[in-house]
Structure formats: structure tokens, C-alpha cells
Amino acid sequence: MVTELPKTDVVIVGSGWTGLAAAYELANAGQRCVVLERGGWRHSTTSFGAPEEHDELKYARQKEHMIDTPIKTLSFRNDGSQTALPMRRLGSFLPGKGLGGAGIHWNGQLWRPLPSDLNMASHYSERYGQGILDGLSVQDWGVDYDELEPHLNFFEKICGTAGIAGNVEGEAAEGGNPFEGRRSEPYPNPPMKSSPPQDIFRRTAEQMGYNPFHMPSANVTRAYENPYGAQLHPCVYCGFCERFGCGYLAKADPIICIYDVLKDHENFELRTGAHVLRVEKSADGQTATGVTYVDEDGRELFQPADTVCLNAYALWNVHLMLVSGLGTPYDPQSGEGTVGRNYSYQTMAAASVFFEKDVWSNPFMGAGAMGMTIDDFNGDNFDHADLGFVGGGYISANQTNGRPINYQPTPPDTPSWGREWKQAVRENYLHHIGIVVHGSSVSVPQNYLDLDPTYVDDYGQPLLRMTFDFPENDRRMSSYVLSKAEEIARNMDHVRAVSTSNQAAEGESYSVVPYQTTHNVGGAVIGTDPSTSVVNRFGQMWDHHNVFVFGACLFPQNLGYNPTGPLMGLAYWTLDHMKSDYLENPRPLMDA
């Protein structure tokens, strides 16, 4: 028995960064918005305060802020010949739950895409010839950098982003990233501090001819009011960022930056404990009529709406499309269909640097986006002619999350437990830093998302099934960029030892067990061709014009950066077109 509720203008599935941004912009454009959130209500001021929040066991290990796998998980296999088994416990990536979504437990590393990231296929084809993309499903986003720039810029201001601009209206600036695209304004706040090991990294990188700069950070560096009127405080470098909420109100999050200045709006309604089962379609299948969800008391409710916005985590947006019959599922045999196509991830590696005793890294001090970074081997900032791969990554000496359960640096050849291990942990904990290689991930025909034939979630719906392994392209890329990181590490002063690790090392299968990064992308990608994209370049579904899709599921392949900046640029781009064009005259904004 499904109860039909009064109709609303817009129903928004999910209350993370994109969902609350959509609600803010659309509510203020006169649209009555109902936001449905699977998890509970919470607030940065009362839910994430220190010292209780600084509980590594509860939040970082037992993952209190993350999705509950008994209710919602997916199945996984490395390739189509295997039987997918459920990801029974969280590991490689950590989708969020509750108000604010994964935007609560992020690090705050806030990047823009490179201009060439957005037209990756045409850029590489023009520079190197078509052959360089053989075997890959790499494609253009259909939106170019100049179109996204105002929206990327706006979100940087929403977050009070800290950094040094490298390129304001074409003027190169000292200390900024010389590779970044033209920006209309500098960052709103000065960069974060740097630690002694980061200063050593910076000096060495400069000596080697590279261009180090402070990672752009949504851990803000001074008292700040954003364009919505929300207030942020300066970061205290407490070291509890990733996997934690920020009770200091110093890490920009969707609650502080948007919800607080939206919650009393007459056009806004948030319903927590609302698990959306499916998007309902009209009799002719051309449009969506609303969504059906289960509330906290187990009742099924139908929320009719003129417009449906999908703002769940990247993977769950794709799941919702598949269980709702939105669009056409991708078939890896025929190559037909688009929903679930072009799933990709992020390719992570690191060089581990062990210092002499007179260099104090004090790794428990830090912030999620406290990084000293070079972009010389990211995107197409370096010549790929003879390398045998496309893409790249940034190399960053990060001082982020040095808490002792997860962080026990030991030099090469240390046993993994026992007396020598214990001695090595004790000697190195305060004198170590990781240099991360945060690399791109190309899409390939054999990596995709669909529905599992066997396993179901708590609501009886089939689990999403992920078929993924690192493409050879990315293994080569990661190995190459890691070798550059290792070279910097070995050239640094006061270094006793260096070791490396590579999640995409040759011969190693991608595993859902060790944490890598919560940057799952693709599966419902943006583009200009309905045979290779789920939504048009405005984020509107080709097959159902009143369904708009948000988030990293739109990325046709993953760039070398963290996804929040690019996906929020896309979100504000989509919202701009909804407000200025679509809502007054609902229709397909592009011809299929």
C-alpha cells in the first residue's frame, strides 16, 4: 500500500553537497523543494564536537559516519568471468550517510579540472593522434573549462577555499599552480601553513625544476563568510579530518555552508530516514512523475514532483537508475546502452619518507587538505608521446591523518609485527611523511556497473554490481608518476629511507579491502552523444527530460584530481541552466 503525498515542484534525492546546493538554488528560484535523505539529521555544531569526535576507533575504523553495509552495499568482482560477491564490509571507499552525506567526512582537497581534462578525448587525439586512445572509452565531457569556470569559482567561495592562485585572468602568480586554467578570481583565503617535511619537499621539488604549491584547501585559514552568508572558522590543524566531521566549523561542509542558511526557507523541506526505492515514470515513459520511498516507520510513500534531481552518492545514483528503468543499461558484450558504462576510479600510489631524528613531522598535526603539491605530472602537463599511457596525477606531500591506529610507518624490510616492528614504529612515527600520487583513471569497456543477479539489499532490491580492475593504461601511468615521486623523495635532505607502494602495481588486482579513496566516478556520464552518455551536457537525462543528475557519476573518466570541485562546478552549471532556461519551459535542452 503506497500513500501518495501532495505534489511538490522538485524532489531531490540526497542531502550531500549537490543535493543541498540544488535545494538552495532552486528554493530561492521559487521552486518548492523536498529533499529526501536516507540517513538521519545531524549538525556540525552538535554532532561532531571534540573531544568525542576525535575517536579513531569509532569513526575512522568502525566508520560511524559511513553507509551501513547491511542496508546498502554492492557486489564486486575484478572481471566478467568471476562471480561477484557482496562487499560485506566497507574498505576501499566510504560513501556517507545522513545529512551532509560524504561531504561531512571528506578531507577538503578542492581542485578544479585542467582545461584539457574536460575535452580529454579530443585533446589527446589532436596532440598525439587517435591511436593513443585505442582500447579506452575516454570521451569529452561536452562542457568546456570556460563554461564551468564561473561555477568552479563560485563553489570555491562557498567553501572559503585557501590557496594561491597560479593564473588569474592569464597572469601567472608566484607560488601558485602554473598549470591551472584561467581563473576569474584568486582564492578567497590565504594558503594553509606547511610543516617542516613539506618545506623540505618544496625545496627539493624546486631544485629539480618542478613547480610546488599549496594544495587548494576547504579547511579554511581565517574567519570567513561565504556568499550565502554562512560563517566558517580558522582550522586548528587537529588532524581529524578524513572520516570525521568538523566540530570546529573549519572544514567546509554542506551543513555549515548551505543547510544552515537554507533550513528556514519556506520552499525547503528535508525528510530524513527516507530511503528512495525508485523513480517512477509516466505511462509513456518520457518523463518521471516522482519518487517512491520508505520512511522510518517502513511505510511506502510516493512523492510526486514536476522535476526529479538525483543527488545520491555516485554509485547510488546509478543504482537508482537501474532499479527504476531510467535510461538503457550498458551491455559490455554489445557495447550498447549507457547506464553503468564508463565506471572508473582513482589510481593511488605513494612514496613513504623516513627522516632523520632532527626532522619532526608530528603527523598528528595536520589537516585534510594540508598538502605541498606539484602538478608537473598531472593530466597532459607533460609530454605523453612515448610513454604508452594517457593521464597522470598530482604528487603531494600531505600532512593529513596521522592517527596511530591507521598510521604506523615502518622503513623498508621491517617485519610486519613483533619486536622489530614495535621498535620501528616508535622510532619513525614522529619523523615520517607520505608523498601521495593521486592519479587519473581511464574508462574502458570492461569496467562497468549493473545489477547483481543474486544478492539483494535490506529492501529486497538487487545490489549494484561493480566489475572493475585497474586498466593497463593506469598501471603504467601510476608506475611512471610514482617513479617521479620517489625521485623527489630520494633527493630530499635528512632522509634515512624511502619506500613505495602502488595500489595499481603490475600483477595486483584491485581490491575492495584496503582503503584507497572515495572517488568512484562514472556510470551515468555527461556528454553530447546519447549513445555514449546518460545525460546531455546540461546534466539532463536524454531519455527523461525532467530528471537531472548530479555528482561524480557524470564523469566520463576520472581526472587526476579529487572530484568534489569538478562535480560541484557541474552542479552549479546544471542549476544555472535549470533556473535560467528549463523550469519556465520544461523540455529537452538538447536534441538527441
Binding site: 573531544p51 576525535h54 553495509t69 552495499t73 560485506r88 564490509r89 587537529c238 609485527w417
Partner: protein
Amino acid sequence: MTQFSRRAILKQMGAVGLASAVPQTLAAQNPYAELDGVPWFFLSDTEARFLSAFCDVLIPEDEFPSATQAGVIDFIDLQLATGYGQGAGLYMKGPFRRGTLSQGYQAEMVPAALIRNFIAAAIEQGGDLAAADAEQREGVVSALSETEDSFGGAQGRVVFEELWALTKEGYFGDPLYGGNRDYAGWEMVGFPGAHAYYLEFVDKNVPYRAPPKGIGHIPGTNRSASLGASAMMKKEG
């Protein structure tokens, strides 16, 4: 300092009935005897003795406490009795199959049962670990850490990883959970704990000397300084 002892934890957790049954003192007959006769939430005495021997191979005593001395067995006992051990955060719908290593946990039982079965199987095959000498103990633990053989429901190395993760959580987690007794783990590495404000320190190349303090706001002693975890700390202290 005894505020994080097993008894204190029992009381904190509201298990007054259990706690009041604890004998006041027990003569220590061997390194594990102090565990005898103390009511556990989940473990049997035999299991506790096994885990104590097992975890002390992983983190043995030196200038800093062993796993058992730091309360790791109390920690594991509590974890097995509560959320983690009972399957919180674990999808438990079937069918169950032995997967690839990259597919992660696929055991048909919750971690508490898995670990119980593992201990029983390990004792059945290898005898009483607590009674073995140091070299034998290391050999047994090392073998268990590598074996693909099933030990009570999953590959030995899979259960080993569960126990190793628990041991580190118990040694380095907040003392609220019964481990890291007297901040043993935090003192050892120099981690100051939950009260964290480093704006004035983060860019300085100096040791940070504040003694550890957990969520409960009980100051530690900064023993690591006097034990030479860092010579510079001592010199400047």
C-alpha cells in the same frame, strides 16, 4: 593508574553485577594468570589465554608494555561482545562463497564466532599456545599469518588479519574501550590524543611535549620522554 583496568571498564559499562563478582586479588602464577578468574564479556579463560599469548607475539613487551599489559585482551573481549564482533556494519545475506582476496570478508559468520572457531582450531592443531616457549609461539603465529588453510570458517591468514587489526586498535585506540592502558600505545609513539589544537605548532620543527589525553580528559605521564622514545624530547624536557 588503574582507572582503565578491566574492573573499571566493567563498572563504566554498567556491568556492576559482573564487576562485583571479581575477586579482589589473584596471585600471579604466570604472565597470564592475572587473567584467570576474571569474568569476560565474551571470551572463555582458555580463549583469553590463547589471545594473550598470540597478541604478545605481535606486540611483545620491551621498554613499553606488551599487548596484554596494555589491555588489548580486555579490548578484544569487549569488541567481540559488542558491535564489531556481533556483525555491526557487516552484510550477512547469503549465499556465502569463498571469494578472491580482493573480495574481502566472505565468512558465513560474524567476527566473534569466526575468532572463537579460529582459536579452537588453532589449539586443536597446535596445542596450548600459552604453554609454549617464546620461539614456538612465534612459529605458530607466523604460520597462522600465512596459511590458506581454513581455521574454523575462513583462511587462517584472513582471521590473522582480523586479530592483528584488533590488536592495533586495542593498543592505539582511546582508553575508553579498555585497551591502550595508561596510554601505553600513545606514550610509545608520542601521540597526544583527542584534545588537539596545533595552529601554533604545525609549522615548527620541534617535538611536541604535551602528555597524552584521551576523550576522558585524564592526563598521561609523558613516560615516552623518560624512556627515550625520543632523545630530543628528553634533552629539551
